[in-house]
């Protein structure tokens, strides 16, 4: 009886493990979701611009939202959560880890209008400068392969302005992002591999 139980347990565990592996192997990770469903979150996230009273400002902000969407800002500046990126409630609040081997570890920054942890205290020129030339307000160079500012540098000055106007209308979210862990000017050409992670790395608020 004891021997039977032992073998039975082994059998159950083996089947369980095999079954779990088969389950992992056969469930489709995304194919069951329609393309429209997958692209919907990008449209639904973000502030309600119809609340802006001045139609001129609304038009500019809408252009900014369009550029932020097709520029995929929200992909990297998303806050990862246990059920995937928290696109809606943490819109553009950052916290996603990105590693560039030999260049350091970066956490995507908080782009919301929060004055302490976001862009609230940055001047328009500060935001435009980082998008145009990859320089933070303190003059620190921004890693242009993780934050592709050389791409956004091609925005016309007026489109860049629209992006700034739009970012000013995002909901302020307090989400403290730690600074990069290595000097960004450090370069090692032999180390290229980049890693975009999937966990919220923001500093916990006390």
């Amino acid at each position: 009886m004891k021997r039977f139980l032992k073998w039975f347990t082994i059998l159950v565990i083996t089947f369980g493990v095999l079954g779990f592996i088969a389950f992992l192997y056969f469930i489709p990770p995304f194919d069951s979701i329609a393309p429209e469903e997958m692209s919907r979150p990008a449209a639904e996230a973000g502030p309600d611009l119809s609340a802006i009273a001045d139609p001129a400002e609304r038009a500019v902000a809408e252009r900014g939202r369009y550029l932020v969407t097709i520029g995929s800002c929200g992909d990297c500046h998303a806050t990862p959560g246990p059920q995937g990126p928290r696109l809606k409630e943490m819109y553009l609040a950052g916290g996603n880890k990105m590693i560039r081997k030999g260049h350091g570890t970066y956490i995507s920054t908080n782009l919301t209008s929060d004055p302490e942890t976001g862009l609230g205290k940055w001047s328009d020129d500060d935001i435009k400068r980082v998008l145009r030339s990859g320089l933070a307000p303190d003059g620190r160079p921004v890693q242009g392969h993780l934050m592709p500012w050389p791409s956004y540098s091609n925005w016309t000055e007026e489109d860049r302005h629209a992006v700034v106007v739009y970012l000013r209308h995002t909901k302020a979210i307090t989400h403290q992002i730690p600074p990069p862990t290595a000097d960004v000017t450090l370069t090692d050409p032999a180390a290229f591999e980049e890693d975009y992670g999937g966990k919220d790395y923001a500093t916990p608020q006390r």
Partner: protein
């Protein structure tokens, strides 16, 4: 998974470096030059390149391209055409920046001494500075910006045939050619004279005057010295200044909607240019152009794909060849197939792409006009043969581990990027 260079190359580099430092130690250079060199490497090299050839790691994505200091052809000068710039000219470009380009104003970040040191270093990058002297121009006094002078300038605009390149309205309308090649063989466009904030060298009457008085070395913009008197060139500057329209950030009320309608018409007028803009700002250029070990774009393969992304658990994805090559590019795709893939991630054979690494769920929101322009631009790209292998699944263990991480732990899959061109194979 770090890419290792052959050790012999590393050793050789080390020896060369060692030799260099010995030579540097023997030739005791002035302190400012050494300081300028290190400042240059820290602040300028990522765009202008370590050797100043304008080939830094970000240069491939920037438009206009960073200056090539080894050629010593500078656009923004107060010296005769073809001549070298003065130190003050170089310092001005650094402190003021070049408007609407990636070159920022360094005034907040560099002291005057540091700027001087960088200027001294930049001059060592071309042998011309050792053998030639800049020839500063002599210019008359700036006239007052009166309507009479502007009207006189308008006549000069006609006599000098500025409209041939810049258009009768300053925006290219009626221009014979809209695309030009600079001295490096790269396509460039005549400046829109109605948008003074994009005048790289500044938009004061004096700045504008200097551009046609001195010409812009390295570009098709010549000096008009001799074609008109100094006074006429000043009047022309006064006129060009009046062509400027109001920028978006000063517009109010209905001006904004008129502006956006105008922009749409402008985009329709030059579909390919607008498509190139969309390709640049939505990141097509970044991922569909492979990069070398020094992080610089492999220029002959711009838009020819080959950049490798590893996404656990889905495997290796190689960015596709977007050029119009029939065999390996988009040449045999229909417009609809390109649009369907861009906005829905569905390949011509009906299979679907995951939403990584190409963020097609974002492109699903692209406006129809922008999408049409993008297709028109991709069609205009010259064919480059670069055969891209289909996505490859990882080994079964990492596949299952990755799926566990993604489906059970609900983490996003990590994305790894690799240098070099992964295409070209059969």
């Amino acid at each position: 998974m770090i890419v290792h260079r052959p050790s012999s190359i590393v050793q050789r580099r080390f020896i060369v470096l060692l030799l260099f430092s010995c030579v540097a130690a023997i030739h005791a250079q002035p302190a400012s030059l050494a300081d300028g060199a290190s400042l240059y490497q820290a602040r300028c090299a990522s765009c202008h390149g370590k050797g100043g050839r304008g080939d830094g790691e970000y240069s491939g994505l920037l438009n206009p391209r960073p200056s090539d200091f080894t050629s010593a052809r500078y656009k923004f000068r107060t010296t005769e055409t073809g001549s070298l710039p003065t130190d003050a000219d170089l310092a001005r470009s650094i402190t003021e920046g070049l408007h609407s380009t990636a070159m920022p104003s360094w005034k907040p970040f560099l002291t005057q001494e540091q700027v001087t040191a960088v200027v001294t270093h930049i001059k060592t990058l071309s042998p011309r500075f050792a053998s030639e002297q800049p020839r500063p121009i002599t210019m008359g006094l700036e006239p007052p910006s009166t309507p009479e002078n502007a009207e006189a300038g308008r006549i000069v605009y006609e006599t000098l045939k500025c409209a041939v390149c810049h258009g009768i309205d300053g925006r290219g309308t009626g221009a014979i050619a809209r695309m030009f090649k600079d001295d490096w063989g790269r396509m460039t466009r005549a400046t829109h004279l109605t948008e003074p904030w994009t005048f790289r060298g500044g938009d004061t009457v004096r700045d504008i005057y200097l551009r046609f008085r001195t010409g812009m070395n390295g570009t098709p913009m010549p000096s008009f010295l001799g074609a008109a008197t100094d006074a006429e060139l000043w009047q022309l500057a006064v006129f060009v200044k009046t062509m400027g329209r109001k920028p978006l950030w000063e517009m109010k009320g209905s001006e904004v909607s008129t502006y956006y309608k105008d922009q749409q018409l402008e985009a329709e007028r030059d579909l390919e240019k607008h498509g190139e803009y969309i390709a640049n700002i939505s990141g097509c250029t970044v991922c569909h152009s492979p990069f070398d070990d020094d992080n610089a774009m492999i220029e002959p393969l711009k838009f020819a794909g080959g950049r490798k992304f590893r996404i656990e658990p889905f495997g290796d994805f190689i960015s596709y060849n977007l050029t119009s090559d029939k065999e390996t590019g988009l040449g045999s795709w229909t417009d609809d197939q390109i649009k369907t893939f861009t906005t829905r991630g569905v390949r011509p054979d009906g299979t679907r792409m995951i939403p990584y690494p190409m963020p097609w769920p974002n492109y699903a929101h692209m406006k129809a006009d922008d999408l049409n322009a993008l297709v028109a631009f991709l069609r205009s790209l010259p064919a480059v043969t670069n055969r891209i292998p289909p996505p490859r699944q990882p080994n079964i263990a990492s596949y299952l581990a990755g799926k566990f991480r993604m489906l059970i732990l609900k983490r996003d899959p990590p994305i790894y990027e690799y240098p070099g061109n992964a295409g070209g194979r059969q």
